[in-house]
Symmetry: C2
Subunit: 230 residues, 2 copies
């Protein structure tokens, strides 16, 4: 069966940047599954696959459609149980939700304050208007002012990464010697920033940066194939 | 084989308060293992079991001695594999380390600023002197000044609990429908504060408070048997 992953892009269809799509991209490679990528801008998402979802990633696997990264990971785990596990058992699946919850509430809001204007700038024109309006409404301020003090926000982010740093300083991945979906969850956030924004915030010698490099190198450099924003 | 759990207490041997000992107490109940408790004050720990460890918990299981809560959980999981799992598989074991890392760096430092003077006050005399000296050296200030502004620190703690809150608001435990060692890891911190300090900081309707109540009720109210500090 053919697998299609619908991913979010801006003007350059070769630069998918959604953190949640990156989680699934690595999950598919983890499972050793071939897939084709189909890309869409923000305003094209509601028209994908008959309007099945308001968000990407959407995965089509033969006749099956699944939306949202965690649900897709669970689908892949259940459907392809004989391939390398994304969760390492039921306990790993449950605690991956905690990693997601932490990542969503610690890393993502901070990275948004670094990258949101840069993300706007790489979008196609109809997406730019949609993105600016929806985000400025959510943030209660302009994109420009939302990122204006980003340099001052680096240190608090680096401090908030300590629970992750302490783990990846002593072992290669959150999963241990090898990565699990939990690694891809956190990787997705950093890759989102890397692909969409040239703003640098991770010191090269930070154990988190070294872990991120290990993630970028996985599966023949799947993550590294898209160059960092310049 | 007889199992002994060495736990930390103050003047009242019926009120073990170490977060790490509570993790193991619930882990033993989770596994359905009988055990006896042996108690020690801070300054008695180096003399336990021939000086095998500088920290409690220490577990003796027949001829085997294991120290430190996570190592004990791993030992129990390996030694009693046919009893309910503490990790739910290898992935769960790995990600429990992340939960521990988060709990140690988010919850514990905040709770120490609430409870450290109250902890001092429940200790026996030689322990009080050791505790004050070692902690004041570590904190760089007196115990009294370390907790002086604790009321102002409640709101930042409550905010930092959001990754946990989001999970336990939608399911009973971090482990899902039932608890895993990851739940006991976080429970230990809150139980430490509950047993040692009357300072209230969790609103009763907070999903974290409701989760904590569920943990207190586990195994015939193992955690609730020790009344809250008053």
């Amino acid at each position: 069966m053919a697998i299609t992953l619908y991913e979010l892009v801006g003007r350059d269809a070769a630069r998918p940047f959604s953190p949640h799509c990156w989680k699934v991209r690595l999950a598919l490679r983890h499972k050793g599954l071939d897939f084709q990528s189909a890309t869409a801008g923000f305003t094209e998402i509601p028209g994908l696959e008959g309007g099945c979802s308001k968000i990407v990633p959407i995965l089509r696997d033969g006749e099956t459609l699944v939306a949202a990264s965690f649900a897709i990971a669970e689908y892949l785990e259940e459907t392809y149980p004989n391939r390398p596990s994304l969760f390492g058992g039921e306990g790993g699946r449950a605690l991956s939700r905690f990693v997601e919850s932490w990542s969503q509430r610690t890393i993502h809001p901070a990275l948004a304050r670094f990258a949101v204007l840069d993300i706007h700038d790489v979008l196609g024109e109809p997406d730019q208007a949609y993105f600016r309006e929806s985000r400025e409404k959510a943030f209660g301020t302009t994109l420009e002012s939302f990122v204006a003090d980003r340099a001052d926000r680096v240190e608090p982010l680096l401090k908030s990464l300590e629970p992750l740093r302490a783990i990846v300083a002593r072992q290669p991945f959150l999963g241990g010697d090898g990565p699990l979906f939990a690694d891809y969850i956190v990787f997705g956030g950093f890759q989102w920033a890397r692909v969409s924004s040239p703003f640098q915030f991770l010191p090269a010698e930070d154990p988190v940066a070294l872990w991120f490099e290990r993630c970028l190198a996985l599966y023949d450099g799947e993550g590294a194939k898209v160059p960092a924003a310049a």
